[in-house]
Subunit: 245 residues, 2 copies
């Protein structure tokens, strides 16, 4: 992991860009954290495209950093400046075509779009976790927050260092991921935008139902994909305070 | 409204029992509230049976009173020591029979059980509100919190003094109430126990979907009817802090 730039904000949060192998990422840490007190870490998921997502990610990260968390994110495969996949581009085109025709996309289209992404992204997130936990200012425990929700589900199943997750039900979910969700036992807060135009509400409810966690909470709010109310950021911080501190 | 007993708790909350016409009730007020600063009021709904519900109601009320709210509740028609209705008893027996047979109760049974209760209870809650708002220590605004959810829905439609509501989706809901919900425009927080054995989850989701409010949030948690996690009490207080203060 190599840091490529750094910037300190008014709120004393330190933002550092990094590169890990070929994967770019961003790390936010509380500026006032003393080196003798390593902080918990939140991995911040997103739908891909760090530059496009930067404003929302940075706002969420600085909100959490202000409460004593380190927050890190990496670019998804095929997004931003990373090499594109012809198969994923084809699946995305098929998905858009179905939505434009007012149809629910077929399971096959969703599988072709999401499953290869999960298979490639999850080892990258785990490698990032390896590198981040070597930094003296980061201790643990570790949470995951955001989307792609199928990436969060797989991470929660395979990565024992993740203790709690806030998952954003804002993308299509393969049937096999709903099955995989039965193996998730860490505490979960699932956010659902009730009228999200780019989301299958029933699939999100099925996914919530499937999770094997004893403590799981669903928060559904009005508005579309990007309309998550500001107070949900406070709720996510309180959820992590219960489970990571 | 006539006060019949009073008790002051360690946390300085004052609990007073009262009777209004033939309807008994309980009022909790923050002990330290100065008479020059009237506090907002939360009407605390419940499924009927004040004595049976007392422990849970008092815990919620004192939690809210500690944050500066007055909380009041009244007995439901046909519950506790109030005169029973033969028709309601028959409907309740029919409901139990359907549930015991593993069936969803018919719409007719739910209508016979819930609609007369709503018709009788709502004017009583409004009369209690009239009396409570005459007390110098209570100002407003007014919120409603709890169940029976159909009572909360009707109150939110007909009573303009109610500014926000936390509704517990813990009872069967007549189809006509789902229609009525479209007229509810105040901010809502709806609590749903995902595995509530005495509740129709799909009806609760349909009801949430129907509400006409621009700000509505659903919180679903695991566990049965009485298993609402403690942190939802904090969430409800924060919801009311956003809308009643």
């Amino acid at each position: 992991m190599r840091f490529t730039s750094e910037q300190r904000f008014d709120d004393d949060v330190l933002e550092r860009r990094f590169i890990l192998g070929e994967v770019p990422g961003i790390l936010w840490t509380p500026g006032s954290a003393s080196p003798s007190a390593p902080v918990p870490l939140i991995l911040a998921g997103h739908p891909g495209g760090l530059d496009m997502m930067y404003a929302r990610l940075a706002a969420r990260a600085r909100h959490a950093a202000a409460e004593g968390y380190a927050v890190a994110t990496i670019e998804l495969p095929g997004a931003g400046d990373r090499p594109r996949s012809a198969a994923a581009d084809q699946a995305r085109a098929d998905l858009r075509q179905a939505l434009a025709a007012g149809e629910q996309p077929s399971g096959d289209v969703v599988d072709r779009l999401v499953l290869p992404l999960v298979d490639q992204a999850v080892p990258e997130w785990r490698a990032a976790l390896d590198a981040l936990l070597l930094l003296p200012e980061i201790g643990g425990p570790v949470g995951f927050s955001g989307g792609v929700i199928s990436v969060g589900v797989r991470l929660a199943v395979v990565e024992p260092r993740i203790s709690a997750a806030v998952l954003f039900a804002g993308s299509f979910v393969p049937r096999s991921v709903v099955e995989e969700a039965r193996q998730v036992t860490i505490p979960l807060l699932v956010l659902l935008q009730w009228d999200d135009e780019g989301n299958d509400r029933q699939m999100a409810l099925d996914l919530f139902d499937a999770f094997g966690a004893k403590e799981k909470t669903l928060h559904a709010n009005m508005g579309g994909h990007t309309g998550v109310p500001h107070f949900e950021g406070d709720d996510a911080n309180r959820f992590f305070a219960r489970h990571l501190k």
